[in-house]
Structures are given as C-alpha cells and as structure tokens.
Subunit: 333 residues, 2 copies
C-alpha cells in the first residue's frame, strides 16, 4: 500500500504508535497530544514538540520571504506548547539547505526566527545544519515547562462543555488562496497573507487559560477546526456541535471571499494553520472566563459550539438546523 493511501494520521496510528505503546510507561505521555510530557518533579513537567516544514509541501520558496519562514518555523512549534498551556523554555533548529543558496537568505531566516525568540524569551539551544539536494527542509523542536496540575490534554473534555477559540479562523487559508491564485496585494489581502506567513502563537493566552479551572481540554488549530476538534472528541469520547454562525471570521476574510466567491466558512472550518487555541470550557464557569479573558487580552473568547454524550464526530448547525457537506480539514497527505 502507498503511504498516501494510509494518510498522516493512519501512518501514526497504524505504523508508528503501536510499536511504542509498551515502551511508553505511565510516567510519560507520548503520541496523541500536541506535546509530549516528561515529569521532572512532583510539581513540574517538561513538554516537548517538534514540527517539520518541507519545501513545496508546506511552503513555496518564491512565495514566502526567508524572514517569514524563520518566524513561522518557530511559531508553529510554540503554538503546540501553548496548546498544552506551557511556557516555552528553549528551541532546537535543524535545517537542510541546497548548496547554492545565499548566506543572506539564511541571515534573513535567522532574523525572523530570532525576532519571535526574543519576543517570547526562548533561546535557541542547538540543532543541526546540513546540505540538502532536495530543497529546503526545516525541523524545529521546542521544550516547554508546565505545572503538573495545569496540563490541558485533549482527553480532558466533558459532556456539556462549551467549545471556544481564542481568535479568528480562516484568515490563514485565505492568505494561502491569495498566494495560490496570485491575487493582488492590498490592505485586505495583506492581512490574510500575514496571518498565513507570520502567525503569532497564542502562548500568553495558553498560559493564562491553563491557569483557569474552568478550562478543560485544549489544543491548537493547525489542520482546521473541523479536523482538530475531532481529536478532542475521539480522545474524550464525546460528540461535538459547531454552530456555524458563531465561528469568528475577520472582516477581511469576508470581504475577500465576497470578491473572489470563496466559501469563507469552508476556509474557516477546513483551512487550518490558524494557530489559535481550541478549548472546551465547563459551562458553569464560562461566563466569568469570557469576561476575564476579554479583560486580560482585550478581545473576546469565542464560543462556537458545545459537547454532548455520543459517538465522537462533529455535527454542524446553522440556526439550530443541521448542515451537511463541509469538506474535511486539511491533511498533509
């Protein structure tokens, strides 16, 4: 069977994970959350996450500036630490580069990587550099830290929880569309492009949310709500309802969608690479949490649905009526 047939999640579930079930003992948490968890004391754990970006799969060299690529390579990993509520401690960068690339390209890449490192106070502690005959390949790992009692796992959701996101979704997918269709760059399309090329990870939001007892399951939106929420539902064995009219979308996305006849909801649900946080909240604490979040971050926490007992799976609602026919989340294979 070809790997493309099995898909990314199939590969992990069928080929990679089963081999290691017995080796992962009860002290360690491995495959299945945004970051691995290694307890370092009674009170504290380290988190570790890693992501690979391959030219022509994740980016096109002529469509992303090296500064942006450096920024984004770190950002998507910080987002995985944020997804567990952790504070990033250090990063590791492996990069494979064609021999004929200019040193200036790498300097610009490092400038982007470092700007975000400084903003979030995360030093680069190591890595690997190598030549690559096969285009640019980047792998970043990030180690984070968290109080054991505050870790938010995908399996922590409960029946009745309210599903929330920490920001707009769909802009990144809109930005990708601008790139793929070679659309003109103006103020509106630039907003979408920025969200796609230099997404800012919700690290502060993740740390703050982890400290709130009303927050239960948490993860980041990398493949799109429609795909990512499924992971929480499967891990927690619950059914999810997403109320489409509540899904937050920017004015820019709506405007651009109007001009080019995109379906903005499809981009918002299935587009991915938003790197906002997706969380489930105890309904008893939701109202207070929403007010506190807004006071802390100056923008709303968006409730977009709720969980209920039942077979894992998402039902989309519009004005309380079920809506079928929304494409699945972006898959890398």
């Amino acid at each position: 069977m070809k790997i493309s047939k099995l898909g990314e999640f199939g590969l992990i579930e069928k080929v990679i994970a089963p081999e290691f079930r017995e080796l992962v003992n009860k002290h360690l948490t491995g495959i299945g959350d945004d970051s691995a968890i290694i307890p370092i004391s009674q009170h504290t754990s380290h988190l570790h996450t890693t992501d690979m970006l391959v030219e022509n799969t994740h980016f096109l060299r002529e469509k992303i500036a090296p500064y942006q690529l450096g920024f984004k390579s770190l950002s998507v990993n910080l987002s995985d630490i944020a997804a567990m509520g952790g504070k990033p401690l250090a990063s590791y960068l492996s990069i494979g580069l064609p021999k004929d690339m200019e040193v200036e390209w790498m300097e610009e890449f490092m400038r982007g990587y470092k700007d975000l490192s400084e903003d979030e106070d995360v030093p680069l502690l190591g890595g690997d550099t190598t030549s690559s005959q096969a285009g640019i390949v980047i792998n970043v790992g990030v180690t984070g830290e968290i109080d054991n009692q505050l870790i938010k796992k995908r399996s922590d959701a409960r029946d009745g929880d309210i599903v929330c996101v920490t920001g707009d979704v769909g802009d990144s997918a809109g930005g990708l569309q601008v790139i793929l269709d070679n659309l003109p760059q103006d103020q509106v399309s630039s907003k979408l492009l920025d969200q796609h090329l230099t997404p800012y990870p919700h690290v502060s939001e993740g740390i703050w949310l982890a400290s709130q007892p009303a927050v239960r399951a948490m993860m980041d939106v990398s493949d799109g709500i429609g795909s990512d929420l499924q992971h929480i539902l499967k891990a927690s064995q619950l059914k999810g309802y997403v109320e489409l009219e509540k899904v937050p979308m920017s004015l820019e996305l709506r405007e651009q969608a109007g001009i080019y006849q995109w379906n903005p909801l499809e981009l918002a649900i299935s587009g991915g690479e938003d790197y906002v946080l997706l969380l489930t909240v105890d309904p008893a604490g939701y109202e207070q949490l929403g007010r506190d979040f807004e006071a802390e971050f100056g923008r709303p926490l968006h409730a977009i649905g709720y969980l209920a007992a039942g077979e894992p799976g998402i039902t989309y609602l519009k004005d309380n009526q079920e809506v079928k026919d929304l494409k699945e989340g972006y898959r890398h294979f």
Copy 2:
C-alpha cells in the same frame, strides 16, 4: 556568498549562534556541545540533541535498508547523549516521505528504530509525519538526563590529558567506500558495512565514563577524530598530539584497505560516523581507568595521544616524528 562556501561550522558560528548569545542565559548551555543542557533541579539536568538525515546527502535510498536507516537515525542521536555522559529518556521522530512510497518501507524503518529503542529503553514520545516532494527527510531529537556533577563538556580538557577513544575508528568510512565503489559483500566488507549502516551508540560506555572522575572532556566521533578533536582543543584552548600508530583500526579495515589500496589511516582519522566516544583523561588516573574500562566492557580503552599547552590544533606523530598531509575531517558542506 553561497552557503557551500561558508560551510556547516561557518554557518553555525557566523550566522546562527551570534544571534542567540544574549538570549542563552547562564542557566542554559546551548550551541557548542553535543547536546544542550537544561538544569531541572539542583542535582539533575536534561540534555537535548537533534540530527537531520537527508536523502542523497546522508544516505542513498537504494544502498541502505529501511530497517538500517531507522536504527541509524536513532543511533546517531543517542550517541550525542552518550557523548555528554547522559542516559537517554525519550525520542522524537519527524519524517518526510514521498507520497508514492510503500507503507512496508515505513514499517521496516520503524522496526529498526524500535529495536534500538527497546535495547536502550528509550520510548518514542512524539514527532511529525509529512509528505515530501524532496526525497526522504528524517529528523530525530533525543532528551536525556544527567547528574549535574557528571556532565562532560568539550571545554573540560586540561594540559597533559591523555586522548582516548572507546573503539575502532575507520570501519564506517570503509563501509561507505564499499557502498560507493559497489564492492562485493563478503564477511570482511560486511563488518565495515554494518558499522556504517547500523552503528551501535556507546551509551553504556558514556554513562560509565561520566561517573569516573579521571575523565574530563568527552564527545562522540561523528565527523572523524581529525575534525572532532579540534572542537575539544578549541573549547579548551589546548594543542593536541595524535600518535598515529596507536589509532585503533579493525583487522577488517586493514585487510580491505590492503586489497583496494585505501589509506586506512585517512579513513580512520578523517572518515567519520564511527560513533565511538572521544575523551580526555587525567594522566594520574589513566592506568586505573583503562583497567576498569576493560573489566567493565571486555575491550580496551585506546589511548591515541595527549594534550599540551599551545595554540589549538592537532599535530600528528608517527614514532614521535611529525607527519603532515592528512586530509581534514568529513564536512557536510
């Protein structure tokens, strides 16, 4: 300037590391040793290392079985933890694969990866899978643990130390030669091939040596003694002497070199990928250490030279006469 002109070490020293000097505070140790060091308590530190293997730079798909590649991908990282004297705790695997590859290939890769994981009791805790239009790309990260007082850094060498290695060098380079020249496989060439394709990391040796007070600086031999010893010399600001007649080489390497007119010393000094440990030892404790090592591991610890005050750099000696004209260690760029 092209990246190939700057080289791997130039890229790290000139473009990557300077950006981060100010962010790496005194509690963390970053670029410049085999692994990064993150203290987790007064007594203990975590170590982290990462290595990228790119098709056609580090391996040829038709010349290495997937089982071997899986084994080696983990092995080279465990070796970096061993180089600091650490005990590996967990690994992370990112892999980019062309869409048309067979699932069976990945199953075999994981079998090799898992066999070494089980031998060394290191669970795979996470990673990333993606498609790659650019051939096979692998990045492995390993987290290890060590007692703060036992960490062996490259900068710990002192004037007068004896330079040692924990095993034969040159076999791996000989194995690469067998592959590149399409030489026939027999018992002799197979020994060299095995050392190149499935090197076994000296983890037990590293942990044991770290606990010995006579051991000062330590690292692993990945680029060849001639290149790797330079790192210890620069970090410790010392001059090194390597006595060529003492460099341990297998009978198989000597035999194969005789048949095909290789210079075995050049392979032993400059070949690289041996993944034995290179260490410097307090001369006062050397004799006892050598006896204890042999009692523990059933084979000798090989003294191959010594350190002295002076400008960092290696002088090669044969029968106490200086020898010039040995090629530098393997460089990836």
